[in-house]
């Protein structure tokens, strides 16, 4: 998957590109509006990560450029402004999603993959991890052909873990992924624990491996190497 990251902050660029490269993405970076337009004119990307506040122009102008050129690249806006109007404005202009800063890199990864999945209209909506098959359209998970009876939240949580497989996910990041920003972490940490416990039980009951590993002191990891 090819990703173009348009962000003027060097440190943030390093963080994101480093993280996404490890995920196996090809990441290119542009720090200004002009260089972003240059790259977009010459190359094709699957996803464009767009910071709104750029030194030489508003990031939304890049979005307008893409739409004007009938591009079908996915666009994820990264913004320091968490204002509803900005969000609505960005989505109206044709962005696929909007992620306010600060964000968890695992959340960014999940959002990118989600956009990618939605855009692969022709492709299969199925993800396979070992003996587990996940259908992101029907929201079904099968372990060795046994359909799991999962709640919506359990499904979302499992997908989040799988998308970020072999990485440590903090309870905070899981909680925010599931309930958004307005849920306070402390309140929901027990909640994450409950859901994880149920999920594990359901997977192992269906004969699946116990992929979800508790990282003491930090969080959870979907470990495919066990």
């Amino acid at each position: 998957m090819k990703v173009l990251l348009v962000e003027d902050n060097v440190e943030l660029t390093q963080n994101v590109s480093g993280y996404l490269s490890k995920e196996g993405y090809v990441v290119e970076c542009a720090s200004t509006y002009a260089s972003a337009i240059d790259k977009l004119a010459g190359f094709d990307y699957d996803i464009v990560l767009l910071d709104i506040m750029l030194p030489d122009n508003n990031g939304l102008e890049i979005l307008k450029y893409l739409k004007a050129h009938n591009s079908d690249m996915g666009v994820l806006i990264l913004s320091a402004k968490d204002a509803l109007e900005d969000r609505i404005h960005g989505l109206e202009l044709g962005a696929d999603d909007y992620l306010p800063k600060p964000f968890h890199l695992s959340e960014l990864n999940a959002r990118i993959k989600s956009i990618y999945r939605r855009r692969q209209l022709s492709g299969s909506s199925e993800m396979v991890v070992g003996e587990i098959r996940i259908d992101t359209k029907t929201l079904e998970i099968r372990v060795a052909n046994i359909l799991l009876d999962l709640t919506r939240k359990e499904f979302e949580m499992f997908l989040y873990l799988v998308v970020n497989k072999n990485r440590v996910l903090t309870k905070q990041s899981i909680a925010e992924h599931l309930w958004g920003d307005y849920m306070d972490s402390m309140d929901s940490f027990d909640f994450v624990y409950q859901h994880i416990k149920n999920l594990r039980k359901k997977i192992t009951a269906a004969g699946g491996k116990d992929y979800i590993q508790t990282m003491y002191g930090s969080g959870y990891k979907f470990n495919t190497n066990i």
Partner: protein, 438 residues
């Protein structure tokens, strides 16, 4: 039981004292009238003195003229016997008596026609006519001092009353005209709002003081608006700029967390640091929100179905309520509409419901009541450790819950203020009760 009801802060102060247009001019008029009273009194004394002097002089001249004609009569008649008539007596004296100067004196004489004693002016002189001395006395009715004083008093009093009357009426009328630019300026200052970024133009006046005032006001308001705009932009930009380094730091920690061979202790430290960053970011967002509400950036006021919003949010929080085994009791009237900004309505309800859940006991209770007049949310929980009236202040926490920022209720209060709602808190039957009156 303490109840604090906060008044909605209205931007434009209600007009309890209408501008009293006569105030300044009345003051000036009264001072002017007092000064003229003093002048009139002094003037009265002077007028009295002058008139009295003139009258005395005229009377003496009149007596002297009569004396001259008396002398002529004596000379013509060659009087040898005393001659006594009304107001005159001529008595021939023995020769050898010296001539004297004319002497005036006041006396009281029986007035022949009035038949009563009246003050008179009297002239006494000894004149030698045809080598014979005569004692001549004559007198006449005088104009009394009292009469002069009465006359002066009466005329001055009438003049003074006329002056007062005319001055009051005219000053009232002219002040309407003279003070017109001033009153206009006052009205404009009253209507002035920093939030509305309008140009400020004052009318030109023919009074130099008012022109100066208007110029000053124009400059002042322009500067105020400029400063306000700058502060507003600075606050928002600063708040946004903080999010980027927070994202970087949090990202680095996330990468660090995924490095090999971290001890449990190290992981815990990273998590703790990340949580602090998260708190900082939330605090920043909350303060930004408060600033934005202050800056009137939520002016999209419309009819909001608060019943639907409340039901939706309760649904969102249901999991959390269940997790804490809280019993929820709701009486929500359908289709309650309130006039407010939609975004603020969402934030208001989120904060209130979240608050009721967070500061609750395990297996506690929450009661939510909504009707077209008010929204009451009550919950069980630890009693407040602060004064109830401080509850809605920034960074005041009812209990020192680690996660709580102490900004949630400050935001709730602010939203109520700008939406014109009243908010009150009381602790009743071991329950915290927050009441929003629409």
């Amino acid at each position: 039981m303490v109840k604090i009801i906060s008044k909605p802060c209205t931007d434009r102060v209600t007009n309890s004292t209408p501008i009293f247009k006569m105030r300044l001019i009345l003051k000036i008029t009264i001072i002017y009238l007092l000064i003229s009273l003093l002048v009139f009194m002094l003037g009265g004394v002077i007028t009295f003195e002058v008139i009295k002097r003139e009258v005395d002089f005229e009377q003496q001249r009149f007596l002297r003229e009569r004396l001259t004609s008396a002398e002529k009569m004596i000379e013509r008649r060659k009087l040898s016997r005393p001659f006594v008539r009304d107001k005159i007596s001529i008595i021939p004296l023995d020769s050898g008596v010296q001539e004297t100067k004319v002497h005036y004196s006041d006396t009281i004489v029986m007035h022949s026609t009035l038949q009563r004693l009246e003050p008179h002016i009297k002239l006494d002189v000894i004149k030698v006519i045809n080598n014979r001395p005569y004692k001549i006395s004559m007198y006449d009715l005088i104009i009394e001092e009292d009469d002069i004083a009465d006359g002066v008093q009466e005329s001055l009093l009438k003049m003074y009353l006329l002056l007062t009357f005319v001055v009051l009426i005219l000053s009232g009328l002219t002040s309407l005209w003279i003070l017109k630019p001033f009153n206009k300026a006052l009205q404009r200052i009253k209507d002035f709002s920093l939030m509305r970024n309008q140009e400020y133009k004052y009318e030109h006046s023919s009074t130099s003081e008012f022109n100066k005032l208007n110029q000053f006001l124009e400059e002042m308001t322009r500067k105020m608006q400029k400063d306000y705009q700058a502060v507003k932009e600075f606050t928002e930009n600063a708040a946004h700029e903080i999010q980027t380094p927070l994202t970087i730091a949090s990202g680095k920690l996330e990468i660090l967390l995924n490095t090999e061979k971290l001890s449990e202790e190290q992981s815990a430290m990273i998590i703790s640091a990340q949580q602090s960053l998260k708190r900082l970011s939330k605090m920043n967002q909350s303060l930004l929100l408060l600033t934005k509400i202050d800056n009137k950036e939520f002016e999209n006021v419309g009819q909001i179905n608060i019943s639907a919003e409340l039901e939706r949010q309760i649904f969102d929080f249901e999991e959390l309520i269940e997790l804490k085994s809280i019993t929820l009791n709701k009486e929500i009237e359908g289709n309650v509409k309130v006039e407010m900004d939609a975004v603020l309505c969402g934030i208001l309800i989120t904060n209130l419901v979240k608050n009721a859940i967070r500061h609750n006991f395990e297996a506690g209770r929450i009661k939510i009541l909504l009707n077209h007049k008010k929204l009451i949310i009550s919950n069980t929980g630890e009693p407040l450790s602060i004064e109830p009236q401080l509850l809605f202040d920034r960074f005041k926490k009812g209990n020192q819950s680690q996660e709580s920022l102490g900004l949630g209720l400050a935001i709730v209060k602010k939203i109520c203020d700008v939406s014109g709602f009243e908010i009150g808190y009381k602790f009743k039957n071991d329950e915290h009760q927050i009441e929003v009156t629409f």
